[in-house]
């Protein structure tokens, strides 16, 4: 069980878009170069984010992608669910007259566990990531100065 690379690209791209001046868009080419992935493939991933309402796109010169809302309002869960979908991680496969999946206690426990993960992903925004980057840069500059 692993997250797909698409999720990887999506999260990093969203974080990068969060670094741009507000309202400014960037094309898929530079985004793809940074992440060492093909532009056509990355555009597929980003299109799913557009459809999920996380980013907005514009074709033509001066087009590209940009965030549609503040980084404070974009959670990890938003991005991940847009890419990975909403199906539960675990799905009980045992189904007979004495045990139906709707009431499987194993299923229930697995759902609870997944929910714990989701709660954390919902609490973590892209803004927090950018803050940590700022902090690291700041610390680095201080150490240089000192």
């Amino acid at each position: 069980m692993k997250y797909t690379k698409a999720t990887n690209y999506a999260l990093h791209t969203i974080a990068y878009l969060g670094l741009l001046p507000s309202g400014k868009a960037i094309g898929v080419k530079p985004l793809a170069e940074i992440q060492k992935v093909s532009p056509t493939y990355l555009s597929k991933v980003l299109t799913t984010l557009v459809k999920a309402g996380l980013i907005i796109s514009a074709p033509g010169v001066k087009g590209g992608y940009r965030l549609i809302k503040d980084v404070e309002d974009i959670t990890f869960l938003d991005v991940i669910q847009a890419v990975e979908g909403l199906n539960p991680l675990f799905h009980c496969s045992l189904d007979n007259h004495v045990h139906d999946r709707e009431n499987c206690f194993i299923q229930q426990t697995m759902n609870e566990a997944e929910k714990k993960m989701e709660e954390h992903l919902h609490s973590q925004t892209i803004a927090l990531v950018l803050q940590k980057i700022d902090q690291r840069v700041s610390d680095y500059l201080k150490s240089e100065a000192g």
Copy 2:
């Protein structure tokens, strides 16, 4: 991203073994029939549980599989990690001179989220599942009587 069916079979089998009288073993055939899966495939899954030290096996007549410790001491996490392995769910793929995976904040957040899930899976034992089954049966019998 999904848990494999092997995890599904492993959890249900462990729970079933927990229902057997202490010390009693059961062959792979009946276990496979219950779960509607081929005996050879299920045996592969169970062999990984043997190697993980969760169950014990014996060949020959009167052989089969049985638990090696109390259901109170077998957690969901034990079973899942035995089958799924220990690799993190997320692995940052962005690696260059300004961003190395070791220090990726996205990676860190994803690891934290995974840990939340694991903590819950570690807190939930097979014994808890069996207790819930007992309770359900008890409730059912009461409703029949009433």
